[in-house]
């Protein structure tokens, strides 16, 4: 068949590469600022826009979706064209994908800074941006599948399978987890509540790790590692088992983020089983990657691209061993809510994603600019400083985690908590936090060196925007399966059918876990004393969400004696039924707050304490690492939204009486005046229309309903 000449679009690859470098620096500098706030809380500068709760989502989203996301697109746009021997399906779609993605990142940074957030970790974007994400993601998938369809090759290479799985699964996860009813342009309530919201959120959260941070990068590994090593992948057979086993198993593992929570035990068990089984395909992939280097290990010593890849794949192996171990309940009892999770996440993000992204950039940019890398020495230095940075980052966090978990659980000889003051368990960790910040600074130093090296490489070379290539047209064969052709072999040349098969594989686990949670009502036993929030408490809760309090405080007491002694009654599914969204959190930089309002409880504080604490936490305890929230005292509470909020809650099934939206603000003001009067009696003059009043109302409500039930288990009834 006659050869056809065509051109690869390198411009889109270059643009995504530039965006990767830019957002990488931004995202990690914000991370460093967060790390320093643990040591010097004053680095939140006393303004709302730079408090931990608001910029932590900027850091996580910038690193995951901006740095890693752009890196993923860079690698995919380059490799997909070459594996398909075809230009991208449509240049306009490529450009929409690029500019749309950058717009989303910019909107994310701005909205989070202004406190516009859903309060769901890694899914904090509000509904208008969520819709934009869905549109841009579809544009990416349309462009990708269009390219695969018009390819000049018969077989679809395994890297592309991982790209396809990434596309379909992220689409399903994003849409399912983002379903919400808008209250206004910048505020919505998720359709799920409490336990159900938690399950959907962590099904999404875990699989964002799986299908945004793992599968596309495995695809990149299957393309760039053989290219850089100049060796075909060790075992293509193993890659087939790796792909299907991984996507099938991964989707089930989400509930391991909710062990010992109010989630039904069957769902927790499923999460554990599938998490442990995940070691098999994960390590299969890692072994396949490392063995691809057989006979080429001598080059690893010299070539920075291979060096970065080897550490990336090794970090993948470490993370995918550590993750299943942390999913075992006995280990999770120690690791959860501590810095162990943060350390684990950063081995994956800095080691696997960060290093693989830089190996791809070091491989691609000299080729796009038809030159050599400006300095191999600097790239090698980047490698060593980065590796050292990862070690300095993770080790103190593991140390800190075990220290803190042990302190939380320790009792003295009288059977009382040895460290009843939570703050003691935080101040103990400050040296570890300082070492972690040094690790982060080292990693960023490496990145800055990498960026400098790549800028000089770009300057020294000449960009090749249109790269000529030639290949025979794809042979026309029947779409039907041949007599001797197996189902999988047929799928390997049918992109649409392959996409559907991948979709079915990922839906099985999701459906089995999530559907029963909605259909089997005994999963969420109701508690008679649990009532909807008052309008003032609801407004206060929205401020709690706005300020990102969940990034440091959990609302989830686990059924351990060490926790019930410290906080009070352990968490029940029925107490969260009106929580849109749930606010269980995943990390305790401060104490759990779910029993904060129980007057006779250990955690209870009067209104005046909350007022003074928000005004200046260090005045109450100079060792506190909490930022100041003085604007809550000066900001007027916007009560114009109350009727609409009540109506949306009613739509979601919260049993406010008919017409309550009309009188909600009267009730709100009545409760606000009572709190203001109580503060006045303590010598604090504050008007009832200030945000602090709503925040205090919400905090004082936490745990009251469960406590009112007396013996909570006696009031459990199936809905």
């Amino acid at each position: 068949m006659e050869n056809q000449t065509f051109y690869y679009d390198n411009k889109i690859v270059r643009n995504f590469a530039y965006a990767t470098l830019f957002w990488g620096v931004i995202g990690m500098v914000v991370g460093l600022l967060l790390a320093l706030q643990f040591i010097w809380p004053s680095l939140s500068f006393g303004i709302p826009y730079t408090t931990f709760g608001r910029i932590r989502p900027i850091h996580t989203n910038a690193v995951i979706f901006a740095f890693v996301g752009n890196g993923m697109f860079t690698g995919i746009y380059y490799s997909l064209q070459r594996l398909c021997k075809a230009r991208m399906y449509n240049d306009v779609l490529s450009r929409i994908n690029f500019w749309g993605w950058q717009l989303i990142i910019l909107l994310a940074a701005l909205t989070f800074m202004f406190g516009i957030t859903t309060g769901k970790e890694y899914a904090e974007l509000e509904w208008p941006v969520d819709i934009l994400v869905a549109i841009i993601w579809i544009v990416f998938g349309w462009n990708m599948i269009g390219t695969i369809i018009k390819r000049r090759t018969g077989h679809i290479y395994v890297a592309i399978w991982f790209y396809i799985a990434t596309f379909v699964t992220v689409a399903v996860l994003h849409v399912t987890n983002s379903l919400a009813i808008p209250v206004g342009l910048f505020k919505s309530y998720p359709i799920y509540a409490g336990v159900q919201d938690a399950l959907v959120q962590w099904w999404y959260g875990h699989n964002a790790v799986a299908f945004f941070l793992t599968t596309p990068f495995l695809g990149l590994m299957y393309y760039y590692l053989p290219k850089a090593a100049n060796r075909p992948v060790y075992s293509y057979r193993l890659s087939i088992v790796h792909f299907w086993a991984l996507i099938f198993l991964y989707i089930w593992a989400g509930p391991h983020h909710l062990l010992y929570s109010a989630l039904p035990n069957w769902a927790q068990s499923l999460g554990v089983v599938f998490s442990v089984m995940l070691i098999a395909p994960s390590w299969g992939g890692m072994v396949n990657g490392l063995l691809t280097l057989r006979g080429a290990w001598d080059r690893v010593r010299e070539d920075p691209v291979l060096k970065f890849m080897v550490v990336a794949v090794t970090a993948y192996g470490m993370s995918t061993f550590e993750g299943p171990m942390m999913s075992i309940k006995s280990v999770n009892a120690i690791s959860h809510f501590t810095d162990w999770t943060v350390g684990h996440a950063h081995i994956g993000a800095l080691g696997w994603n960060g290093f693989l992204t830089f190996s791809v950039l070091y491989y691609l940019i000299p080729r796009l600019f038809q030159t050599q890398l400006y300095s191999r020495k600097v790239a090698n230095l980047h490698f060593w400083i980065g590796t050292l940075g990862i070690v300095f980052y993770a080790v103190p966090l593991y140390w800190g985690a075990i220290t803190q978990a042990s302190m939380w659980k320790e009792f003295n000889e009288n059977g009382l908590l040895k460290y009843p003051n939570f703050l003691e368990t935080v101040t103990q960790l400050i040296p570890m936090y300082a070492t972690r910040a040094i690790g982060g600074a080292l990693y960023i130093t490496g990145i800055v060196m990498g960026v400098w090296n790549l800028i000089l490489t770009v300057r020294a070379g000449k960009f090749l925007p249109e790269e000529v290539a030639s290949a025979p047209a794809r042979e026309r064969v029947s779409g039907k399966r041949g007599a001797a052709e197996g189902i999988h072999r047929w799928l390997e040349r049918r992109p649409v059918q392959f996409t559907i098969a991948a979709l079915v594989a990922i839906l099985i686990g999701g459906i089995i876990e999530i559907v029963p949670m909605y259909l089997v009502k005994t999963n969420i036993p109701t508690i008679a004393s649990v009532k909807p929030y008052t309008p003032l408490e609801l407004q206060g809760r929205d401020i709690y969400v706005r300020e990102g309090c969940y990034t440091c405080h959990s609302q989830q007491v686990r059924p351990f004696r060490s926790e019930t002694e410290r906080y009070g009654e352990y968490a029940k599914a029925g107490e969260y039924v009106y929580d849109h969204p749930f606010q269980w959190g995943s990390k305790r930089n401060g104490p759990d707050l779910s029993r904060e309002g129980v007057v006779s409880g250990r955690q209870y504080k009067p209104n005046s304490w909350h007022y003074n604490h928000m005004l200046n936490p260090q005045r109450l305890n100079e060792q506190s690492i909490m930022p100041v929230y003085k604007w809550l005292i000066s900001n007027d509470l916007d009560i114009s939204t109350t009727p609409r909020k009540i109506r949306v809650m009613q739509q979601l099934g919260v049993p406010y009486p008919d017409g309550f939206d009309q009188i909600a603000n009267d009730e709100l003001l009545k409760q606000a005046r009572e709190i203001a009067a109580d503060l006045k009696s303590q010598g604090i003059e504050v008007e009832p229309n200030k945000e602090i009043i709503a925040m205090i109302a919400y905090l004082q409500r936490l745990g009251k309903d469960v406590h009112a039930a007396g013996n909570p288990t006696a009031h459990l009834t199936a809905k």
């Binding site: 050869n3 000449t5 065509f6 690869y8 490799s79 070459r82 594996l83 021997k85 000049r152 090759t153 077989h155 290479y157 395994v158 890297a159 299957y222 393309y223 053989p226 290219k227 075909p232 992948v233 075992s235 293509y236 057979r237 193993l238 087939i240 088992v241 299907w244 086993a245 099938f248 198993l249 035990n265 069957w266 927790q268 068990s269 499923l270 554990v272 089983v273 599938f274 442990v276 089984m277 098999a280 075992i328 309940k329 006995s330 000529v468 290539a469 030639s470 290949a471 025979p472 197996g486 999988h488 072999r489």
Partner: protein, 64 residues
Amino acid sequence: MLRDIFRSIGGIENYGIISTVIFAVFFFLLTLHAVRRKREEMDECSRMPFDDGHKEINDHKENQ
């Protein structure tokens, strides 16, 4: 010691049943399929990243 560790995991009695069923059905079929694939075919697939359309350009230039 190992027995004690496993005994302390909540719901351990279900783990074996669920995982056995999954492994038996899914991995068996998948592995069987992978093993039965022809070696030449697998080798050809694994070499795909090395053929990105530039070889033909070079061949074409050489023929000219």
